[in-house]
């Protein structure tokens, strides 16, 4: 089974006034057809930048090296024209901030129709029919009327559903959802997640779910990539990661998940310390300074991502 997305040796750096910041370093992963890959990490772990790089959407001071291929086609630093044939068409992305993701001066339906006109050569009239259909699928009431609405006339949940409908108009092979529920309240979050799950089941789209919510990962994903300070620390099937987490950071993350009946102020364990400064990454393991089991090697040598089981790998020097 050939992977849809193959990422090898990805590095993302940003030039700043204070020097270079490494957002992602030496990252390898692949995405299989029809699977859902969860990408988990705290803010600044490089999870969003990885996929922004894949879509050619890094900020102007950012640059990416290495390789991200879609079915053999190199995406990194691909010419704009070639990239534009793929993004929005075969590859689609849903962004975290649904509230500001739609162009405020354009009617919602027209923004959606534009995608079909661009990628499938439909006329406006044909596109309109498809858009109204797509709005129905994401359960937007009265889609004919909503077609002509402006973003400010819709609620946050509605806008996020519009974003999902828009991203899936061309039936992409890969859908990257970057914290699709963060800006939404809890009841709407569940709707959006159900929608993504249904999409994966019914269309065979490969889904990348970027999140810091392990509960979401447990419910939706097949495999998980745990990132820390721009590096992959653990990669494996959801069940293995939750039952036998092999990296101290993953274990700490799982422990700090709030559950029912726990007073967060009292009982929730926190990971002591701060993630390392991305301008001055330590030579060894990036988690060394916060790890309870740290040994001398951890501070000196960077651990490689090595297999600890079938399809399960971690980057750690400690004995398994």
């Amino acid at each position: 089974m050939a992977a849809v997305i193959e990422c090898q040796g990805l590095n993302v750096r940003f030039r700043t006034d204070d020097g270079a910041v490494t957002a992602v370093s030496d990252l390898d992963f692949s995405l299989n057809p029809g699977e859902c890959l969860g990408v988990v990490g705290e803010s600044g772990s490089g999870k969003s930048q990885t996929f922004l790089a894949m879509f050619g959407l890094l900020a102007p001071n950012g640059s990416a090296t290495g390789s991200i291929r879609y079915r053999g086609t190199e995406l990194l630093n691909a010419p704009r024209g070639a990239l534009d044939e793929l993004r929005g068409n075969r590859l689609a992305m849903i962004f975290q901030d649904a509230l500001s993701g739609l162009t405020p001066t354009m009617r919602v339906g027209e923004q959606m129709a534009e995608v079909l006109v661009r990628h499938q050569g439909l006329t406006r009239q044909q596109a309109r029919a498809r858009v109204i259909e797509a709005l129905e699928v994401v359960r937007i009431a009265d889609p004919e009327r909503r077609y002509a609405a402006y973003p400010f006339e819709m609620s946050g949940g509605m806008r996020q559903r519009v974003m999902i409908a828009m991203a899936t108009l061309c039936r992409p092979e890969v859908l990257v959802a970057d914290e699709p529920t963060t800006a939404l309240d809890v009841t709407v979050q569940a709707q959006v997640l159900r929608l993504l799950d249904g999409l994966k089941r019914h269309t065979g789209t490969s889904l990348v779910l970027i999140t810091h919510d392990l509960g979401v990962v447990a419910g939706l994903c097949d495999r998980v990539l745990i990132m820390y300070a721009g590096r992959a620390v653990e990669l494996g099937p959801v069940r293995d990661i939750f039952r036998r987490p092999a990296h101290p950071y993953t274990r700490a993350l799982l422990r700090s998940m709030p559950g029912l009946g726990i007073d967060p102020a009292e009982d929730l364990p926190v990971i002591p310390g701060q993630p390392p400064d991305l301008e001055h990454l330590p030579p060894g393991c990036a988690f060394a300074s916060r790890c309870a089991h740290v040994v001398e090697t951890c501070r000196v040598t960077r651990p490689a991502l090595l297999a600890v089981g079938a399809d399960h790998a971690r980057a750690c020097h400690l004995p398994a």
Binding site: L57, R87, F95, T103, P104, T105, R118, Y150
Partner: protein, 309 residues
């Protein structure tokens, strides 16, 4: 939207009335009179002239006379340009000023707008720095410097264009005044356009538009431009009204029979009817173009449109 426009036009009438009233009495409060510059007149002669123009009547009566004529479009005779009524003077000068002023605005909008868009899309490139450097020069260089230099170079040295004169608005005569008037405006518009573009280009919705594989031209013209034009519209409203006054220097240098000079000369000569005429025209322009600029906001931004009820 129509309601909003009608309401705004309704408010315009009392506004205009207040402006006209204030201008009328302020003008009369200023010391001096229209005939001070005439060589020593016999007191009896002066009295006769003043009576001929109703200047001997009480101020309130004069005000009433002025108002009742003005609503019919009659601003009375000029006190200085003999044998001309104010309406005639404006009817001759206004088309000249408007032609030159509008052409200059058009040139400035097209060149400045394009320059600003290109500079923003190539932010911090050599092209951006060059364009913005030129823009700064354009703002710093007043028309009374650029106009004579251009007249000298293109008119006298290269002999390509007439140095001055109106010549019934012949295209060759229009070139230099229009360019002289447009130069600083190109600069201002380019800077406003660039600023507006940069602000919007940073938005999330631009990134998502690009993530959908839209062509850069669609991204710029459909997604970015409507929001990026907002600062420019705010500037253009009052600036378009300035077509009348802003061209004073250029009209003098190129000897164009526009209305610009009436503002200054009318006030200096205490040519009461002429001043009132140009004040009314100018105030009307200001009110009208501010309304147009508010309507343009509505055309660009649906949220504004919704608030105009």
């Amino acid at each position: 939207m129509l309601n909003y426009t009608l309401r705004r036009l309704g408010i315009a009438i009392p506004t205009l009335f207040v402006i006209v009233t204030a201008a009328f009495f302020l003008m009369r409060a200023a010391p001096g009179g229209p005939f001070d510059a005439e060589a020593d007149l016999e007191p009896e002669v002066l009295e006769n002239i003043r009576a001929a123009y109703d200047l001997d009547k009480p101020l309130v009566t004069q005000y009433w006379l002025f108002l009742s004529r003005a609503v019919k479009g009659d601003f009375g005779p000029s006190l200085v340009y003999k044998d001309f009524t104010v309406t005639e003077l404006i009817a001759i000068g206004l088309p000249v000023s408007i032609t030159v002023g509008l052409l200059a605005k058009l040139v400035a909008l097209v060149l400045g707008g394009l320059g600003g868009i290109i500079a923003a899309l190539r932010q911090n490139s050599l092209l951006d720095h060059t364009l913005m450097g030129l823009a700064m020069t354009g703002i710093a260089l007043p028309a009374f410097v650029s106009a004579p230099i251009m007249a000298l170079f293109f008119g006298l040295y290269l002999k390509l264009l007439p140095v001055a004169g109106w010549n019934d608005g012949a295209p060759a005569n229009l070139v230099l005044p229009v360019v002289a008037l447009a130069l600083p405006q190109i600069a201002v518009i380019a800077r406003l356009m660039r600023g507006g573009m940069l602000e919007v280009l940073r938005s999330n919705f631009v990134r998502t538009a690009r993530s959908r594989g839209l062509r850069e031209s669609s991204v710029v013209f459909r997604h970015v431009l409507p929001s990026a034009l907002v600062p420019l519209v705010g500037y253009l409203g009052p600036a378009l009204a300035g077509i009348m006054t802003g061209s004073l220097i250029v009209e003098l240098i190129f000897n164009l029979p526009g209305v610009g000079r009436y503002f200054v000369q009318g006030a200096l000569n205490r040519d009461y009817p002429l001043v009132m005429g140009v004040v009314i025209i100018y105030a009307t322009f200001i009110i009208l173009f501010n309304l147009l600029s508010d309507l343009a906001y509505a055309a660009l931004d649906p949220r504004v449109r919704k608030s105009y009820r």
